[in-house]
C-alpha cells in the first residue's frame, strides 16, 4: 500500500466508525416481524427480499411454462384456448425477464457488493427499500390483469404494435403501468449500485482490484440507466396510441409499426446483456475458487465486458432482419452482432484457461458454473447462426429462436444465479447447504433442461413457429419429449427450494471462508455475515 492511502486511512476509519455506531444505535431495536421487512434499509435484508421475490416469480412464471408445455404435449387444442395460451407465453416472458432474472441479480448485488468492496451498506438505503417494495405491486397489477374481462396481455412479451395497440385487450393499461413501475424500480436499483461502487469502496480498493461481479454489475447498472427509460418511453407510446388517439405506430395516422420494433429492440438488446453480464461476474468468482487458481486474464475480462456493453447498442436490428431493411443495414447489423462473439469468446477462453491445470473440485456451485460455460456457449453458437442474415430468414420466429434464448437465459442467467446461491449460501445463512441434495438438484436440472431445450433446435429448423398453441402432427413426438423435459425441470426446482429452507434452518456450521480457494473481502467476514458489513474499512492487500 502506498503512503497516501496509509495517511488517509486513520481519518477515514474515525469517520466510518462514528457513522457505523450511529447506525447501530438506530438499529439496536430494529423492529421484528413484518415491520422488519417492510421498513428495512439493510442491504442484506433487502437482498434477501429480492431473492425470495425472484424465486416466487420464477415459480409463477414456471407454472405458466408448465401450462404451455402441457398444451403443446399433443397437437390440437386440449387444455386451454388460444387466447389464454397467448397470455401464458406473454406473461411467462415478462415475469421471467422482469420478475425472476433481474430481481435475482439485484438481490445478489445488494447482498454482495457492499461486502465485496468493504462498505458498511448500500449508499442509498431508503431508496433501496423503495425500489424493492414497489416491485410486488407491479407484478400484482400485471397478474391481476389476467382476471379481467378480455384477459391479460396476449401480444407476446415484446408487445409489438399493432398487436399491443389496435388489437390488444382492454387490460393493456395495467400492463403499461406495471412495466413503468418495474422500470422505475430497476433504475433506482441501478443508481444505488453505481453510487455505492463509485463512492463507497474501501480505501485501497482501486478500480482494477474490484471483484469482477462488482465490475459487471457496474456496467449492467449503466446499461439499465441507458435503456430502461427507453422501454418506459415505448410503453408510453403504446398507451397513448391505444387510449389517447396518437399515431406513433399507426400507419393510418402517419406513424409506422416497424418503428415500434426499432425502439423496442434499442431497449431490448442491451436488456439481453443486462441479464447476462452479472452472470459473467458470478462465474468469474466461482471458477477460480474451485480451480484454486487466480482468474486468468482479469483485465481482459473487464475490457471484454465493457466492449460487450458498448456493442450491445449497435446490434438491435438483428431481431428484425425480416422487416425489409436495406441490404446495407442488414450487413451492418450482422457484422456488429458477430463482433460480439469476440469479447464473449475472450471470456469463455479465460474461464477455461483458469480451470486449465487447476486443482479442480466439483462442489455444486462449480458444477453449475461449468454447466453454465458449456451450455451458455451452445446458446452463443445458435446466436451466431441467427446473426447470419440470410439464414435468419429461415430461423426467424421459429422454435430455433426459442431454443437459443432459453439456452442463454435458463442455462445461462438462471444457472449462474443458482451457482451464486450455492456459492454464497454459507455466507448468508451461516450453515453449509446439503451437498448431496445440491448435486441431486444439479443433475436433475442439467439433464432435464437439455431434454427440454435441445430438441427445440430441431423443431425450429423443421419449421415449427413459436407462440402457437397447436402444431402440425409431424412435430408431435419431439414436442412430447420437450414437454417431459419441461415438467422434469420444473419439478427439479423444488429440490432447490427444499435445500435452501433446510440450509436456513440449520446444518453444519460454515466457517468464515468455507471454500478454501475463495478470494474476496466477503470471506473475511464471519458466517453468517453480520447485520452491518464493514463497520471499519478493511485493509486491501
Amino acid at each position: 500500500m502506498n503512503t497516501l492511502t496509509r495517511e488517509a486511512e486513520p481519518n477515514m476509519e474515525i469517520g466510518q466508525v462514528e457513522a457505523a455506531s450511529d447506525h447501530q444505535d438506530e438499529h439496536q431495536q430494529h423492529p421484528s416481524g413484518i415491520k422488519r421487512w417492510l421498513f428495512t434499509t439493510n442491504h442484506k435484508d433487502i437482498g434477501t427480499l429480492y431473492l425470495w421475490f425472484s424465486f416466487i416469480m420464477f415459480l409463477t412464471g414456471g407454472a405458466m411454462a408448465m401450462v404451455i408445455r402441457a398444451e403443446l404435449f399433443q397437437p390440437g387444442l386440449q387444455l386451454i384456448e388460444p387466447n389464454f395460451f397467448n397470455q401464458m407465453t406473454t406473461i411467462h416472458g415478462l415475469i421471467m425477464v422482469f420478475g425472476a432474472v433481474m430481481p435475482a441479480f439485484t438481490g445478489l448485488a445488494n447482498w454482495l457488493i457492499p461486502m465485496m468492496i468493504g462498505a458498511p451498506d448500500m449508499a442509498l438505503p431508503r431508496m433501496n427499500n423503495w425500489s424493492f417494495w414497489i416491485l410486488p405491486f407491479a407484478f400484482t397489477i400485471l397478474l391481476s390483469s389476467l382476471f379481467m374481462e378480455g384477459g391479460g396481455p396476449n401480444f407476446g412479451w415484446t408487445f409489438y404494435a399493432p398487436l399491443s395497440t389496435t388489437y390488444s385487450p382492454d387490460s393493456t393499461a395495467l400492463f403499461v403501468f406495471s412495466i413503468h413501475i418495474m422500470g422505475i424500480s430497476s433504475i433506482m436499483g441501478a443508481i444505488n449500485v453505481i453510487v455505492t461502487i463509485v463512492n463507497m469502496r474501501a480505501p485501497g480498493m482501486t478500480w482494477m482490484k474490484l471483484p469482477l461481479f462488482v465490475w459487471t454489475w457496474l456496467i449492467t447498472a449503466f446499461l439499465l440507466i441507458a435503456v430502461m427509460p427507453v422501454l418506459a418511453g415505448v410503453v408510453t407510446m403504446v398507451l397513448t396510441d391505444k387510449y389517447f388517439g396518437t399515431s406513433f405506430f399507426d400507419a393510418a395516422g402517419g406513424g409506422d409499426p416497424v418503428m415500434f420494433q426499432h425502439i423496442f429492440w434499442f431497449f431490448g438488446h442491451p436488456e439481453v446483456y443486462i441479464m447476462i453480464l452479472p452472470s459473467f461476474g458470478i462465474i468469474s468468482a466461482i471458477v477460480p475458487t474451485f480451480s484454486r487458481k487466480r482468474l486468468f486474464g482479469y483485465a481482459s475480462m473487464v475490457y471484454a465486458t465493457s466492449s460487450i456493453a458498448i456493442l450491445s447498442f449497435l446490434v438491435w436490428a438483428h431481431h428484425m432482419f425480416t422487416t425489409g431493411m436495406p441490404v446495407f443495414a442488414e450487413l451492418f447489423f450482422m457484422y456488429c452482432t458477430m463482433l460480439i462473439a469476440v469479447p464473449t469468446g475472450v471470456k469463455v477462453f479465460n474461464w477455461i484457461a483458469t480451470m486449465w491445470r487447476g486443482s479442480l473440485t466439483f462442489e455444486t456451485p462449480m458444477l453449475f458454473a461449468i454447466a453454465f460455460i458449456i451450455l451458455f456457449t451452445i446458446g452463443g453458437f445458435s446466436g451466431i447462426m441467427l446473426a447470419i442474415t440470410p439464414a435468419d430468414f429461415q430461423y426467424h420466429d421459429t422454435y430455433f429462436v426459442v431454443a437459443h434464448f432459453h439456452y442463454v437465459l435458463v442455462t445461462g442467467a438462471i444457472f449462474s444465479i443458482m451457482a451464486a446461491a450455492y456459492y454464497w449460501l454459507p455466507k448468508w445463512t451461516g450453515n453449509m447447504y446439503d451437498e448431496r441434495l445440491g448435486k441431486i438438484h444439479f443433475w436433475c436440472s442439467v439433464i432435464s433442461v437439455n431434454v427440454l431445450f435441445f430438441p427445440m433446435h430441431f423443431l425450429g429448423l423443421a419449421g415449427m413457429p413459436r407462440r402457437i398453441p397447436d402444431y402440425a402432427v409431424q412435430f408431435a413426438d419431439v414436442n412430447q419429449i420437450v414437454s417431459i423435459g419441461g415438467f422434469a425441470f420444473g419439478l427439479s426446482q423444488f429440490i432447490f427450494l427444499a435445500l435452501v429452507i433446510k440450509c436456513i434452518r440449520g446444518g453444519e456450521k460454515a466457517a468464515a471462508k468455507p471454500w478454501e480457494g475463495a478470494e474476496g473481502l466477503e470471506w473475511t467476514l464471519p458466517s453468517p455475515a453480520p447485520y452491518h458489513s464493514f463497520t471499519t474499512p478493511p485493509e486491501i492487500k
Binding site: A123, A251, A252, G324
Partner: protein, 184 residues
C-alpha cells in the same frame, strides 16, 4: 456517513437521474429521427408526404421503368379501391397522370386515408408525386364513388439497377378518429 460523501453521492445521483430522464427523452426523439432517416435513406418504402414540384427534366428515352400499382384496404374499410391501370411503362423524367377508383359500398359517410409505400425501398426517394390523393383525407358519402388522381414522375437519377417500382396504397378507415386536416 461523512458530509463529503453525502455531497458526492448527491452529485452522482443528480447526474444519473439526469441521464435516465435524458434517455426517456431520447426514446421519443427516436420518433422524428426515424422519420428523417427513412426519408433521407429512402428505406422502408416511405415516400414524401407533400407535393414535389416538377421541373422539366430531359426525359430519358433510353430507359423504361415499369410502374406497378397496388391497392389494399384495411379490413374495417367498407370501400372498393383499385387502380385504373395495374401497370404502366414510363420514361424517367416524364410527368405521368393516372388515377385510382374508390367507391363507398356502405350506407354511411366514410373518411379514408391512403398510405403509400414504394418497393424496392431504395427507389422510394426517386418516386415523386406532384399531386396525390394520399396527401389528404378522402371523404365519400354513402354509395358515392370517386376518381382519385395521382400525378407523378420518376427522377432520372434512379439507379440503373431498378427497373420496376411498385407503388402500394393501403386505405385506412379513419372516420371514427375525428381527424381534421391532413395527416401531416
Amino acid at each position: 456517513m461523512s458530509n463529503n460523501q453525502g455531497k458526492s453521492n448527491r452529485k452522482l445521483i443528480g447526474i444519473l437521474i439526469a441521464g435516465a430522464v435524458g434517455m426517456f427523452g431520447f426514446g421519443f426523439a427516436l420518433v422524428p429521427l426515424y422519420d428523417v432517416l427513412c426519408e433521407q435513406l429512402g428505406i422502408n418504402g416511405k415516400t414524401q408526404n407533400s407535393a414535389s414540384t416538377y421541373k422539366p427534366f430531359t426525359i430519358d428515352e433510353s430507359r423504361t421503368i415499369t410502374i406497378e400499382f397496388m391497392a389494399q384496404i384495411q379490413s374495417d374499410m367498407p370501400w372498393e379501391f383499385k387502380p385504373e391501370v395495374k401497370r404502366m411503362r414510363v420514361h424517367p423524367g416524364e410527368l405521368v397522370r393516372t388515377h385510382f377508383k374508390a367507391k363507398n359500398l356502405s350506407l354511411k359517410d366514410t373518411i379514408g386515408q391512403a398510405i403509400p409505400s414504394v418497393s424496392p425501398g431504395q427507389g422510394a426517394a426517386y418516386f415523386n408525386k406532384t399531386e396525390c390523393f394520399c396527401f389528404n383525407q378522402q371523404r365519400l358519402m354513402a354509395k358515392e364513388s370517386a376518381e382519385l388522381p395521382l400525378i407523378f414522375f420518376v427522377d432520372p437519377d434512379l439507379p440503373d439497377s431498378i427497373t420496376t417500382l411498385t407503388l402500394s396504397y393501403t386505405l385506412y378507415n379513419i372516420t371514427d378518429r375525428g381527424y381534421v386536416g391532413s395527416v401531416e
